[in-house]
Subunit: 431 residues, 2 copies
């Protein structure tokens, strides 16, 4: 038996506890798979004396996480601190500089600093692994970096935020409003007190930026991600979508369009027969479309102690086996910059819900405006009343249109006296 | 740039052509991912002069595939010949003996001789890779061997045969009989002239034996797989299943039961809300349930030139990167034998369709028999007529019962004068 791989663990929250539990409970299996024991030798967290329900007495302690990197009894550092900069980033740099492997679940840091860290890790010839940073327990990083490595991708997209998917699923199931479900989710601990990171799409954008780099061999480009959250989704939208044959999901999607790659996080109407439509509650799923493999779906638990620990320890087993390669599948120096596509020329089908005054002539006014900007309408529904304004709902779906023509029309509508609330515009995903 | 990885390719059918096409079309990408070019240097196939639409003139030719192993210009052999023994097996052994990596899509060979080949490969410290052998383009071998490596599995199961899934999906969609759809599938080239390998569950059993070894660290044990095909499924069964909330799928499943692992390929009623229920047509899907990761689903194309080539070349990229380890994730010498569970003590819920004479008293007779063997009935449907016998259908679902009690009752029924056709007994899968 080769000598043990010694782990320095930074962060002892839910996930850190999960990693300790997994390495204890599945020790024999991990040793077989890694061809050597994987043991935590030193830890660091904010409060040494908090009761975590695990015995840390045999482990060395560092008050300053960065000091884990320099310890002689640490071969690899697992970073579960979080935050795109600060101690997490300092620890990453110190670990790589010390010529040691670095494993992280930190999507914000990877989205912001992935290129720099990958370059440093490749120069130092150490592993930089982050399976847990995207879609929790789903081995989608490995799946894309290695499993689908032979494919030029046309698209990678998925349901990347479990909180949003839970909220939308519950709104659909119970007919509740966004605010009701969010409140319940916060009470149950499924959503943060400040939910904006999740419900405004930022967390999904971090994950998408990482997936895009992996899938397309591009430099991680968080600034290039168009981001829209789910606050504007009304239960009426969910009902209309269902009657039209769709479910509303927050989808993070990167697509190749000519030489460019578009990146967008936004709620979308997903056809019932699309594999993403049946991904419910807090599950995550990622679809990759390759030029040889066709459409691949990975689905599973995107968060939580167990799934995240599963991903972290899979990375540790790779490290123990001496498996390393470019963090994004392509050497960092070969990752390319692609033009971020402006919104304007995007073509697609859309859903628009207007809240309008209940009087004759409004539909004629709306459809005339859309005709004038070349937006071709597929269907119109006029039914249902807005409890807030007393207005009635006018729901349109379009044929393929130039997106910014529709956005301009929507902006125009929101200035009309007969339109009582900001229009809700959502993309419709192809099957 | 490191020097090229030189490939000897045995078999130039659909998949072999796909591999050549992928390496040509995605050459720049593959070179980046592999950190070196991957080039085919020599080929072997049955007929040198058949027009395959690809120019082979620059490649060396071997009439005897086994001779690829010894060539100085071959670093790795890709075996796409098929067949569990014969030239494929001889080539595998010769390649490993020559100290070279071996990549194969041959599920029959791996199911029959996987343990021996893995032992040989590990002794020779060469890679033995077979991503394409199970579920085509879906990177489920890598996903289980590496991605979920940290998990003790409780179950691995899936839709492993695209032909059967296509037949069952089409029967449901069109209301056609098994024979009709099989005939159409044969005419379209989706099913073989002799379909028994697919429709009798043998192909799925090969794949399941491989997945079981990977998932549970057990010796591949094809003999331990209980196998039932789909020939007995009538469109009436599909209709009844639907009205009860299920879809019928051919499921290959391995489950841990105490110290044992059961392996079974059989049609099953899958609840509509289960992720396998929405896997339609020729798609494949694999579910793995781990003690930390929970339930993971991999779904995609299980066959065809493109998806299979994607898997073969992913293996080649791993080989080019020097990535190798135990073929089944656990060293071959550590793979354990587990008792194959006899059918008898299996507990589960079941569906039974009887074709009975249309006269009073039959239901009472049937239910009395089931009561006597402690089979608890959940629901009974009496409607529909069998076009062949003129009998009527009596469809029962049970609560959890001891399977062999139900099988004995079914055997008893088939001897009754009032029962006009062999009973159809199918398992009901839990959500």
């Amino acid at each position: 038996m080769a000598k043990a791989l010694k782990v320095g663990l930074a962060g002892l929250g839910t996930v850190g506890g999960g990693v300790l539990a997994l390495l204890a409970q599945n020790a024999a299996l991990v040793t077989k798979r890694a061809a050597r024991p994987v043991v935590v030798s030193a830890v660091s967290a904010r409060d040494r004396h908090r009761n975590r329900g695990v015995d840390l007495s045999a482990l060395a302690w560092e008050d300053n996480a960065v000091d884990l990197a320099g310890r002689a009894d640490v071969d690899v550092v697992v970073e579960l601190i979080g935050g795109s900069d600060g101690p997490a980033l300092a620890l990453a740099k110190a670990t790589i500089s010390a010529g040691k492997a670095f494993v992280s679940a930190n999507k914000a840091m990877l989205a912001h600093h992935g290129l720099e860290l990958a370059s440093r890790a490749e120069a130092a010839q150490v592993a930089l692994k982050f399976e847990a940073a995207v879609a929790g327990g789903i081995p989608v990083i490995k799946g894309m970096r290695e499993g689908l490595a032979a494919n030029e991708l046309t698209a990678v997209y998925g349901i990347l935020n479990g909180t949003c998917n839970y909220i939308l699923s519950t709104m659909e199931r119970n007919g509740s409003t966004f605010a009701q479900v969010l409140g319940e989710a916060q009470a149950l601990g499924y959503a943060e007190a400040d939910p904006s990171f999740d419900v405004d799409g930022i967390d999904a954008a971090h994950k998408l930026a990482i997936l895009t780099a992996l899938g397309f061999g591009t430099k991680p480009n968080l600034e290039g991600v168009g981001i829209e959250g789910i606050r504007q989704i009304d239960s009426a939208d969910i009902d209309y979508a269902r009657s039209l044959g769709y479910r509303i999901k927050l989808v993070g999607a990167a697509r190749r369009v000519g030489e460019a790659v578009t990146q967008r996080v936004a709620p979308a109407l997903v056809p019932h027969a699309h594999p993403l439509a049946s991904v419910m509650d807090s599950l995550n799923a990622v679809v990759a479309e390759g030029n040889f493999v066709g459409r691949m779906l990975f689905q599973g638990r995107g968060a939580g102690a167990g799934p995240t620990a599963s991903a972290v320890v899979a990375d540790l087993i790779d490290v123990a086996r001496g498996e390393w390669g470019p963090a994004f599948g392509t050497p960092a120096s070969d990752l390319v910059s692609v033009p971020a596509i402006p919104l304007a020329p995007t073509i697609g089908r859309f859903y628009m819900r207007l809240t309008v005054a209940d009087r004759p002539g409004v539909l004629a006014e709306v459809t005339a405006t859309l005709r004038d900007v070349n937006v071709s309408i597929e269907s119109v529904i006029q039914r249902g009343q807005d409890p807030l304004t007393g207005g009635v709902y006018l729901v349109l779906t379009t044929h393929a249109v130039v997106e910014n023509a529709l956005r301009e029309a929507a902006a125009h509508f929101s200035r009309l006296e007969s339109v009582l609330a900001p229009p809700v515009v959502l993309q419709i995903m192809d099957l």
